[in-house]
Symmetry: C2
Subunit: 330 residues, 2 copies
């Protein structure tokens, strides 16, 4: 692998947190690159392109921060971190097939380069690589938990698909879906970080709940950004949820609080196609306080996440986990 | 799961071989059905539909036949058999996204029912279920081999994609691709059947080579059937390889043996679109002996497969493996 984007560049906004685990993150990155390898040159080319998908690596950071908060970081932590990031990357590659997104983190998506077929196969290859690496660990426990979590992620994605265009979706169902498709992998990252380091089960579980709450907040904010964000800054296609009739928290709030006339207006906007509808949509949501409501809900999950942090872990790392949580809603 | 297609119905042409492992195959089927479960009703519905994809279950049969040829069948054999069939089924579901096939074994394909997005997610769910089940085995060795094999299957599919429309593809490259995309999983089924039963490494390896040769022959015959077969009997869309410019052994033979004028005629046929081209194509291949050549090559791999069978395994089961190999080219 040759892309070699310095991790420091990727995680710039998280840099002060990154400092706590800088050496370990480099080791994770090296393992990741060395695993993304194929003897078949044509496949190797595609895998190299995959490097561009690498994001902030929040999940590996959670593994390492929770691991270090409970003890020493070992090679097994690196493996777990790489496996989780690879599974996440596989789901991003497949998400591009799903979402027909044509931009993802300022790189061309695999499907726009090679068609859906290559994107599907490449995602599969990443899944298999991940499970192959995972089965090199001394115990089956991590493999089993990661496979169960990934199944949950897939179920979350399927549920989201079924509920597309379903405007009566409740906040409870929305939260259930994002808990599966996003928060479960955050939770497992934290649980395994602690567990591989030999922490007591109660500490592992508290950190797992921390991760779950951070993950829910993360997804709410991601959905808000899809509505209000700046495409150039985020580097991925915005308004995608709206175009695909994916109803997220701001619209759920709006539709459950508006009067019949406003509801009619919103539904017309959601069903009809016109160039200005993104702006009109945003304006309605802002006026009704629905964007702010979603941000506040994310804030509540972050507050809950911080509450879950055990007292008897390393103080500095505990502080880093608090800062990471705050960053999600910043 | 409620589909409950009797295995006896599915494996009718293999019935005399099936008799050797009838009880064990029923146990595999029950485990398979119980694993294809989701608490989410919407997902459970899709998984139920998946049951229709179940084919002849050749791979589980190989696991059990090789296992029984070397000793007693255990619960671990059932798990390996289900995992391998599930991985195979996942690749079939994704293959439908790839191939845009609208018929698969007389059931509607998942993508024609629910769109590509659901098919991608459902295939992922099957992969994750498979790896989850696999990590319940006492040792990591099976997980690691199955994950490595599945990676190879994905690489084979990607290579096939790259070589599509590449009319100078050699027989060697074609064989390399089908070895990965099909034969590796046959080989692993046989290897693990023996290995989980505690057979010596040399016996495991011989059975692995038996499986690899059977798998190559199986794919050659599958490709021939795509050209000459009867759509109603096979129950899946035929001529798909031709339409997708996938060059298989008969065309490779034809193009490497014809004179320039014939080559021109064949390439025009491959590039142009007309309703009669399937028939003209078949006629050219038949006249040149290219269909027969492919059948003969498959026969050679079956001969080699039989040669690989160790002498010091159960005689009856050895005979069953010989018959299974013969069935592939029947």
């Amino acid at each position: 692998m040759s892309l070699r984007i310095p991790v420091t560049e990727i995680v710039m906004p998280l840099l002060h947190i990154y400092d706590y685990i800088a050496v370990e993150m480099e080791e994770v990155r090296e393992l990741f690159d060395s695993e993304l390898y194929s003897q078949e040159p044509l496949v190797a080319d595609l895998l190299e392109h995959i490097g561009k998908f690498r994001g902030k690596m929040v999940r590996p950071m959670l593994v390492l921060l929770c691991g270090k908060a409970c003890g020493e970081i070992s090679r097994d932590h690196h493996v777990v971190a790489v496996v989780i990031e690879m599974v996440h990357m596989a789901s991003l590659v497949h998400d591009d097939v799903l979402d027909e997104a044509d931009q993802r983190r300022r790189g061309q998506t695999i499907n726009s380069l090679q068609g859906n077929e290559a994107a599907v196969m490449l995602g599969d290859l990443l899944f298999c690589h991940a499970f192959h690496l995972c089965s090199s660990l001394p115990s089956q426990q991590s493999s089993r938990l990661i496979a169960a979590t990934t199944s949950s992620v897939c179920e979350g994605e399927l549920m989201q698909l079924f509920y597309r265009g379903y405007y009566d979706i409740t906040e409870k169902k929305y939260l259930d879906i994002i808990a599966r498709k996003t928060a479960d992998l955050f939770a497992t990252s934290c649980y395994l970080g602690a567990q591989v380091g030999g922490a007591e089960e109660s500490i592992c579980q508290s950190l797992e709940e921390y991760g779950r709450n951070v993950g829910i907040a993360f997804q709410i904010m991601d959905d808000v950004t899809d509505i209000v964000g700046d495409e150039k800054v985020i580097g991925k296609t915005l308004g995608g949820d709206f175009a695909k009739e994916k109803i997220t928290l701001p619209s759920i709030h709006y539709l459950s609080h508006c009067d019949p006339e406003e509801k009619k207006q919103m539904l017309e906007l959601l069903f009809c196609r016109n160039d200005q509808r993104n702006e009109q949509y945003l304006q309605l949501l802002r006026q009704a306080g629905s964007i702010q409501y979603a941000r506040d809900r994310a804030g509540q999950f972050i507050t809950e996440a911080k509450k879950q942090l055990p007292e008897n872990i390393d103080g500095k790392l505990r502080q880093a986990l608090i800062e990471l949580a705050s960053f999600v809603i910043a």
